[in-house]
């Protein structure tokens, strides 16, 4: 009988241990993490970030205990120099963030975790009354009132490859407005070409030389560093859909229908594709697309996203400098002149 009692005590002890370890562990974990925010990353199909909004006071540390519940993710703060974190499934990463300025900050996944990767975004709301954040300047496309959803294919395109070097030879013939930054920002290459075509000083130049001039003007409005930075941003954030070569054949969009506004008619009114599912982006290496859009329009597309096309909105993520670099790089697809790496 004593042996039986002992056996029962042993069983009770062992089972109690088996139950106590996770229970005590969980309690201890919650005490240790009293001031820590636990954040779980999941593919959007699995629910996305476990928290969509995190609140913190300006100047106070925000301690994050982050893990992934499915695949590799990244954790980045939009418009910030904060280095991105790799979030490995089942492993925890701890980080502490301090925001000095009140405002709304976007945290997002920067790893291509799935077709809806870009939906993995959340907001950090930083509160405080000691300092108020400066409102951001209005983007150029809004100031200029550009309808970024209207059809924008180029009215005309070069019939042969352009040469900015050749275009430089004719710079002395150019009217003043052609060299102004505002003209560059607000005008598409095709529109500027048509405007210059009407200039009497350039009337004798063949069309191809005039295109060389346009290429030279675009070259003057960018730097090699910008193009290299733009290339990095494009490779990390855009290539999964637009393709490394800009042909619109990225891994995330293969098999999707090609974007065609004609497919989305409502009565006699033609609309852009809105909320009708993802489509393949246009082929940037076909100059008819990029030579028809101004830098301001491209900025608008990047900030707001492509309505109904699956193109995410990058406004809360990229800085103005990053967007400028990206635009500089995008035009290289149309001119077919890539950055020369200074290294």
């Amino acid at each position: 009988m004593k042996k039986e009692l002992l056996a029962r005590l042993i069983i009770i002890l062992f089972i109690s241990l088996a139950i106590a370890i996770p229970v005590i562990g969980r309690l201890k974990l919650s005490v240790n993490h009293n001031n820590v925010v636990e954040l779980h990353a999941r593919m959007p199909e699995n629910g996305g970030w476990s928290l969509s909004t995190i609140e913190v006071k300006a100047g106070k540390p925000l301690k994050l205990h982050i893990t992934s519940d499915d695949v590799m993710h990244g954790f980045s703060i939009g418009k910030s120099d904060q280095p991105a974190l790799e979030i490995t499934p089942g492993e925890f990463v701890d980080t502490t963030l301090i925001f000095d300025t009140p405002g709304r900050y976007t945290f997002y996944c920067d790893r291509w975790c799935g077709p809806n990767h870009w939906r993995m975004r959340g907001t950090i709301v930083v509160t405080g009354d000691n300092q108020t954040s400066q409102p951001e300047p209005q983007p150029l496309f809004l100031k200029l009132g550009i309808d970024i959803d209207s059809p924008s294919d180029a009215e005309t395109i070069p019939s042969k490859p352009v040469s900015a070097e050749n275009g430089a030879k004719f710079q002395h013939l150019l009217p003043e407005y052609a060299l102004q930054r505002d003209t560059y920002n607000a005008t598409s290459p095709a529109k500027l070409w048509m405007r210059l075509r009407k200039e009497s000083t350039l009337a004798n130049l063949p069309d191809s030389d005039l295109w060389d001039i346009i290429a030279w003007i675009w070259q003057q409005n960018t730097t090699n560093d910008q193009v290299i930075n733009g290339q990095e941003i494009f490779a990390k954030n855009c290539a999964a859909c637009h393709g490394e070569t800009g042909e619109g054949d990225g891994v995330m969009v293969r098999g999707l229908p090609v974007w065609d506004p004609g497919n989305h008619n409502s009565g006699n009114v033609m609309h852009e594709a809105t909320g009708e599912g993802l489509v393949r982006p246009p082929d940037f290496t076909d100059p008819i697309h990029l030579l028809g859009v101004s830098p301001a329009l491209l900025e608008g597309k990047i900030i707001r996203g492509g309505m109904g096309t699956g193109m995410p909105y990058w406004g809360p993520i990229f800085t103005n400098q990053q967007i400028d670099s990206l635009i500089s790089y995008l035009y290289t697809f149309a001119w077919n002149t890539r950055a020369k790496n200074s290294n």
């Binding site: 241990l17 139950i19 089942g90 492993e91």
Partner: protein
């Protein structure tokens, strides 16, 4: 044939006769079982960081096939925690029966006897395996359901009815224990014949009578017969592998069916888990979807029609080539012995594939069993995805060659002539070549 009776060694005899060592190991496995269920429910949903997934489907499942069965037959059953709670209620005691147990002690329905339900259970494992093997929550729910079912059945039916007739793993270990090197047998048949009380049979939770034991398939190595025998007439023998096979041993049709289900399962598991076909993995994982129904249909058709069809054809030809014409049904049962070494080695070869790749996950989940960021033994972040090495591939080829040789030897042993064994050997060769292609092709 040569036998080494382990009870002749005093230390081993002492360990086997005492209930304490076995009890303590079972107490640990029971606590581990409960811990595993809790880890599955409370822990990380990332399978590679959850104790439940790694310990059930990597550590235990591998150990069962590479260690317990090849070297101990049904030795896992002797320490399995699943029947413990129900058995204690039946016995009225945790350490030993008190005679005050509870339960209706009904006989298991005759119509449900044999390995049919176990084979069906194993088919279910194959059908739902892709989800079960990767979801800690589902694993925990299944473990919980199994232990509750075993408990309830032990209150209704006598002895270990769940283990004998329902447990898929019991079916698996029982089938392949016939090839294992351990057996419980009587030392002197005459002594048993003269003993009227049959204390061994009354004490056996498996309902076996040691004097009548010809196969190790249904003996769970619990050692109760050893402990209650008044004349020390029970031996625990180490024996040559495959000792249960022979021209005169009796086998049943349900054993043949179980053996074929095991062969089909190892083929499907190899294709789903080791094959390069992403669509197949997705179909197996998306339970309830149209691709899954197609996968399930093909799997069941293969397991219930194609493979049994090939086996039946080879048996039919073998039967025609024999000197004595047995009934087809009897031949199907008799020749099913070749499926045992064939299947056992096939499962070992399959296990080698993922054991090499996945074993690195074991230490990290001991360090952090719930995936909560613990680092108990300093190994929580040391997992790396292993690679199938040339050695493991070479080892698999050796194993499958050995399996074919062993199965062919058994085929010859149980046939009238080499000519009669040839169709069975051809069946084994085609199966092994198919598996070889899936594993290293």
């Amino acid at each position: 044939m040569t036998r080494l009776d382990l009870t002749q060694f005093p230390i081993i005899q002492k360990i086997l006769y005492s209930r304490w060592p076995q009890f303590l190991v079972r107490a640990i496995t029971l606590a581990g079982f409960i811990f595993t269920i809790l880890a599955g429910i409370l822990g990380s949903i990332v399978g590679s960081h959850n104790f439940a997934i790694i310990f059930v489907w990597i550590a235990w499942w591998t150990a069962l096939k590479l260690f317990f069965i090849p070297f101990g037959g049904r030795s896992w059953c002797s320490i399995c925690p699943i029947p413990m709670p129900g058995e204690w209620l039946q016995n009225g005691g945790i350490l030993q029966p008190s005679g005050k147990g509870i339960g209706l002690r009904k006989k298991w329905p005759k119509v449900l006897r044999g390995n049919w339900l176990q084979a069906g259970g194993f088919l279910m494992v194959g059908l739902f395996g892709a989800l079960t093997l990767t979801s800690a929550r589902i694993t925990a729910i299944i473990l919980l359901a199994i232990i509750v079912l075993a408990l309830l059945l032990s209150l209704i039916y006598e002895r270990r009815s769940f283990c004998n007739y329902l447990c898929p793993i019991g079916g698996f270990t029982g089938l392949y224990a016939q090839a294992g090197p351990v057996e419980v047998r009587v030392k002197n048949a005459k002594v048993c014949a003269e003993h009227a009380e049959k204390t061994c049979y009354n004490a056996c939770p498996w309902g076996q009578y040691p004097l009548a034991l010809k196969s190790s398939a249904n003996c769970g190595l619990c050692m109760e017969c050893l402990r209650v025998c008044p004349t020390d007439n029970i031996a625990v023998n180490m024996r040559p592998w495959g000792s249960d096979f022979g021209p005169k041993t009796k086998h049943r049709l349900d054993e043949a069916f179980l053996g074929l289900v095991m062969l089909a399962s190892v083929l499907v598991d190899s294709a789903v888990f080791l094959g390069p076909w992403g669509q197949l993995k997705t179909a197996a994982y998306e339970i309830g979807s149209i691709p899954w129904f197609i996968f399930a249909g093909i799997f069941l058709f293969g397991a219930l029609v194609v493979l049994p069809g090939f086996y039946a054809a080879s048996v039919w030809v073998a039967n025609r080539m024999g000197n004595i014409q047995n009934s087809f049904r009897k031949s199907l049962s008799h020749f099913s012995q070749v499926l045992v070494p064939l299947g056992l080695i096939a499962w070992i070869a399959f296990t080698v594939s993922f054991a090499f790749v996945k074993f690195t996950y074991i230490l990290p989940v001991i360090s952090d069993p719930f995936g909560w960021g613990w680092n108990l033994i300093g190994n929580s972040n040391t997992a790396w995805v292993g690679e199938t090495t040339t050695f493991s591939l070479f080892f698999q080829v050796i194993l499958l060659s050995l399996g074919l040789f062993w199965a062919s030897r058994v085929a010859r042993q149980i046939s009238d002539s080499t000519k009669q064994a040839l169709p069975l050997i051809a069946f084994c060769a085609v199966f092994n070549l198919s598996l070889l292609w899936l594993l290293i092709g």
